[in-house]
Symmetry: C2
Subunit: 225 residues, 2 copies
């Protein structure tokens, strides 16, 4: 079987992944409109799988279907950012508390440790994309060991929604050195089984991060991203 011709995943899956990619990297900019047939042409497939992908993306809050106007890539306003960070604050704080209650061993927490180390390395090189990736990894891992699959899914969705906005503000802000101190404190609380502390510290961390990014948007008059 010719590997180049292997069709391992369905077209609707490919459409989903590819459209997500194009939304995140700005090839499909916030606020832009696109006809289903146009997207289908670009992705070299028929409208059917594209339509399915687009419906999924709508339910994930990344775009909006406007019949006869095309699909609109949803911009993210400061108000949206505020909503999303509030949701993440609540749910991740619970995850931190539950992780602390779970009595994990240091090996169980190696995912968090690794993410923290990666952030240090990236920060030392001023590699902000790398830092952002490791930061995402920390939060995703925290939520994972929190043990609630629904919180995992919701947090992933919220993170997707702010991804573009987060990336564009990455180089606007001062180096987030404080951030990893917070992460280390959260990890310590989890490792020692301090559930109340893990919750409280992580909440403060998220509330602080929210304030920073909201201020940044305000300062730069960014009404949507």
């Amino acid at each position: 079987m010719n590997a180049a011709l292997v069709k391992s995943v369905s077209n609707s899956q490919r459409a989903l992944q590819e459209l997500r990619r194009r939304i995140f990297n700005g090839e499909l900019p916030a606020g832009s409109d696109h006809l289903e047939s146009e997207l289908a042409d670009q992705l070299n497939m028929s409208r059917t799988p594209v339509r399915e992908a687009v419906l999924m993306l709508e339910s994930q809050g990344l775009l909006e279907l406007r019949p006869r106007k095309g699909v609109r890539i949803l911009p993210v306003s400061p108000e949206d950012m505020s909503e999303i960070y509030d949701v993440l604050t609540e749910l991740e704080s619970l995850a931190a508390e539950r992780a602390a209650q779970a009595g994990y061993s240091p090996e169980d927490l190696s995912g968090l440790t690794k993410a923290i180390d990666d952030m240090d390395v990236a920060l030392a090189q001023s590699d902000m994309e790398g830092w952002a990736t490791a930061d995402d990894q920390f939060h995703a891992e925290l939520v994972r060991i929190g043990g609630n699959s629904r919180i995992m899914a919701i947090a992933a969705m919220m993170t997707d929604q702010v991804r573009r906005a987060r990336n564009t503000t990455l180089y606007m802000r001062p180096k987030p050195t404080k951030s990893n101190d917070d992460h280390r404190d959260v990890l310590a609380a989890i490792a020692t089984g301090d559930a109340e502390g893990a919750r409280r510290i992580h909440r403060q961390h998220r509330e602080h991060a929210k304030q920073i990014i909201i201020d940044l948007l305000e300062k730069h008059r960014l009404r949507f991203l």
Copy 2:
């Protein structure tokens, strides 16, 4: 124009609504499998709109697509209930806090008042369905005045997922007289702007409700609903 022939909503919308209805009322029981073509026949339409509806329902956690086995109506286990109530506890508590901070007038809070009254009336008549509807209404309204549209959407989704399980346990438990006392306390805290109190009281209310239903499932050996 003949009213009987008016086709006001799309078939995929009808499919979505009708499938939801059948899932909630047990016509499509938890754990059952159904082919797309079978559902299409039942709903008198082609596979296309049914498939779209089914994809939406999958993303809402009500069913699961298992290629060549049909769509499976997802059962809800006690672990699922626990996850869902945890999410609702966190997000509704924030909504209560925000509602208290918003400085609403008594008229603004009439939706909550109405729901509480409706619950009293229903409870006096032992009308458990009516009580459940009003209880849903209270929680939906609380989240609405909390002012976070994403929390609204998530809470609605979570409520949908536990709807069947909640309904089947409705008549198993003692009359929830305590519940409305909690609601009144939450309302009072919101009305007086006691944000910390609103959050704390509502959290306790939800944690208590979770414990009751989990115990009930345990006691009746209900592994999934």
